[in-house]
């Protein structure tokens, strides 16, 4: 076990208890995030129930290739994040592996935002922004895109926070400001990252898959 007294913080007596508390605290916070995005998905579900045709039509307008690519990117980033967390928690010294995986995760996060940027630009060109000159005639379609912009926007904000957290770990770890091995912060960042990925896992079938079959 490394010398963990440097990482021991108020008011904890021993380090393993502090780690457990950190992990439990992030899980409780993730429960609140589940409610946060759950409420957004409920709004989507109720609007979709009340306007099934319009939501199918609007769903067909979304670019499914961007959506699928982004989902693949985030799933891969979850892989590399999980690797980083498990490697950091392992007693052996996987310092280069941990830094490598963290770097890949941050890169994949940025890739997601870039793809999202292209998609947003394409949506704007196709007049898919709710307002006066909206492309689709049905009223419900404006609801779909109102929710589309809001939910993907909120998700992108959460993803950006995730990228900042991962980059912070990379920087401090690389400059040896903090010891990455058995550092609870790596595990907490990983859990938060996985939540952002899970939110997208549910967003994908809601935004990109409706209306494809008819």
């Amino acid at each position: 076990m490394t010398d963990t007294s440097t990482q021991l913080r108020e008011p904890w007596a021993n380090f393993s208890r502090q780690q457990e508390a950190g992990k439990f605290g992030i899980w409780v916070f993730l429960a609140s995030e589940v409610l946060f995005f759950g409420a957004l998905m409920l709004t989507y579900t109720v609007c979709r129930i009340e306007h099934t045709e319009a939501f199918a039509a609007a769903g067909r307008e979304t670019n499914i290739w961007y959506g699928t690519a982004n989902t693949a990117i985030l799933l891969t980033s979850s892989l590399t994040m999980a690797m980083a967390a498990q490697a950091a928690a392992a007693p052996e010294r996987f310092r280069r592996l941990v830094l490598g995986c963290l770097l890949t995760t941050a890169a994949l996060g940025l890739a997601f935002l870039v793809v999202k940027g292209f998609e947003y630009k394409e949506d704007i060109d196709k007049h898919l922004v709710p307002g006066s000159h909206f492309a689709l005639p049905q009223a419900g379609a404006q609801l779909f895109y109102g929710l589309y912009w809001l939910i993907t926007g909120v998700h992108a904000v959460h993803l950006s926070i995730g990228i900042v957290l991962v980059s912070r770990l990379i920087l401090l770890g690389y400059l040896r400001k903090i010891e990455l091995r058995e550092n609870p912060e790596v595990e907490v960042t990983a859990l938060y990252w996985h939540l952002v990925d899970i939110v997208w896992i549910f967003l994908y079938p809601l935004i990109y898959l409706p209306g494809r079959a008819s």
């Binding site: 409780v28 409420a39 109720v46 709710p130 809001l150």
Partner: protein
Amino acid sequence: MRSKVTDALLNGELPLPPRPDYLRHGSTISSWLITTDHKRIAILYAITITVFFFMGGAAITAVRLELFEPNGWLLTSDTYNKLFSFHGIVMVWFFLVPSIPNTLGNFLLPLMIGAPDVAFPRLNLFSWYLTIAAGMLTVYALVAGGVDTGWTFYTPYSTMFSNSHVFAAAAGVFVVGFASIATGVNFIATTHMLRAPGMTWFRLPLFVWAIYATSIIMVLATPVLAISLLLVIAERWLGLPIFDPAQGGDPILFQHLFWFYSHPAVYIMVLPAMGVVSEVIPCFARRRIFGYDFMVYAMVAIAGIGFFVWGHHMFVSGQSIYASLIFSFLSFIIAVPSAIKVFNWTASLYRGQISFDSPMLYALGFVGLFTTGGLSGLFLASIPVDVHVTDTYFVVAHFHYIMVGGSVSAFFAGLHFWWPKITGKMYPDGWARFAAILMYAGFNMTFLPQFFAGYLGMPRRYHTYPPEFQIYNVMSSAGAAVLAAAYLLPLGYFAWSLFYGTRAGNNPWRATGLEWTTTSPPPPKNFDRQPRVDRGPYDYHAAGQSAGTDPPEVQNAREVV
């Protein structure tokens, strides 16, 4: 056999070498503004909510004055609407929700479970700064012109038809929501991870259980409030149509999201009050609490079922009759735990040695007013009566009985009970008892007439009203003046006690509980020796015995060798 000296030493009677307590542990401004000591953060919160309490009170004083005349004389309709909206927003999110959990809870949770501090001290300070930022946003909304949507922000009025500062106010409440979530996460982690050795779950004082149950609601309900306000902001500021009826949006959906938070929020406000009363009544009746485990199950049941009853706010909103029936049924079920608690408090007085110090008067005031408020809730749970009385002053009286009669009375009970521990000074109990009785009388004079006005059909949020309701409004406004006086009194004698109050020993009320085993005010790290616990709370008399008159064995802190 321990000598008398060690006993006295243990009880803190002997003058120990003066150690700096948490108040004198640093007196620079920055020592307060960047403190991570949960006791100092509790005091920062206490000051913050007191300021907001009197701002909300000022707003409603103008409203009560306006309601003297059926056609109004002091305010325009817009100002009236902005004032009652400001009163609602400030009182709910900036006073009631943080009042007991963030002040008494923050101060006492670590002390009661024998911990040096909360689990995440920096997160604790961060949530205070979030509350201050949110408060500034809300005050900006008021100063810039006010918000006139009511504290409920119903769409499509708030999103499309109100031309007041809805964005700033909604953003303010959005931010204070995250302060609430941060506090909840902090307290849940503290209760799980930092209990002293021997402090099992069923040896926890009921105040700790109350704060724990409240934290669960804070963490799980507040995000949905954040979303409902985010949707209002998105529609109003970014123009994304979500509740716009012309685009097929459903205004009732907003009400579902809003009330999913706002009903559990009333349990965020009343559960800590129940915790305080469960501490005060056993101490002044010198009796164990009656049915401790039933009290715990009742609290957890209230926190749990509290999430399933929100639809009783929407019986007339166009909600389907089947959903209304489900919500009505669940609302009747959740009334059962509250009833059990009232019966248990009452039964705790049996065969006690009851002394009527001011905390006890406030606590009994709580039981009285909370019972009336809870019973009037039954009227609102039955659909035909609710159809008649919802959105009238009957509802206003109901929730004020529980929130003001209940939570505020209990907050004052807690404030008086733990004031010696927080400040190390005793307050003049004579004045305090007078203030308690005055508050009880003033409260009933204010809100009892509103039950009648409500049943006779006076809608809420009315700037001008049919003349036949004038008598009720005049009585209510007169009562409000008495209530206001009753709220100002404690400010006076508490301030007086800070300078001239006699020094309070470690345990002036001879109460049980770990917070009474350390000095008053406690040292920065709460305890000199890690306390051990070997028996349950409220050990005012040996199990099976009756309340003796001599001071109890302060058993909780005995060093178990």
